[in-house]
Subunit: 68 residues, 2 copies
């Protein structure tokens, strides 16, 4: 299991939190996802044999956010 | 038909726009609702015989926004 903290810009409200946590959390191989709104950070733990970090960042970017 | 522009604080993203336009738009008597995100304003046209302005502001406040 891998753990990564992503810097994500554009998350501004509770809807954003729900949207990202819901969508990333549904990816096969993602164990946990936690958005820290004030910090602009997203903690993700995932099985790197099942999902690439790239898939996770792309999922977030497709929702309109910038992953630094 | 009455028209009113409300000053609303806390609207920060597209999710907020959809949430407010969807919810207020479903109120009986509301004809149109348009959120202006950058300006923090919500334009509403409504039939004052069917819905009070108070019902509209309460609907927005119940979603967690402040109506000035």
């Amino acid at each position: 299991m891998a753990t990564k903290t992503l810097n994500v810009q554009g998350m501004s409200c509770g809807h954003c939190v729900n949207s990202i946590e819901g969508s990333v959390g549904e990816l096969n191989g993602v164990e946990t996802v936690k958005v820290h709104l004030q910090d602009g950070k997203v903690d993700v733990t995932f099985d790197s044999k099942k999902v690439d970090l790239k898939d996770i960042t792309e999922n977030i970017e497709e929702q309109g956010y910038d992953v630094a």
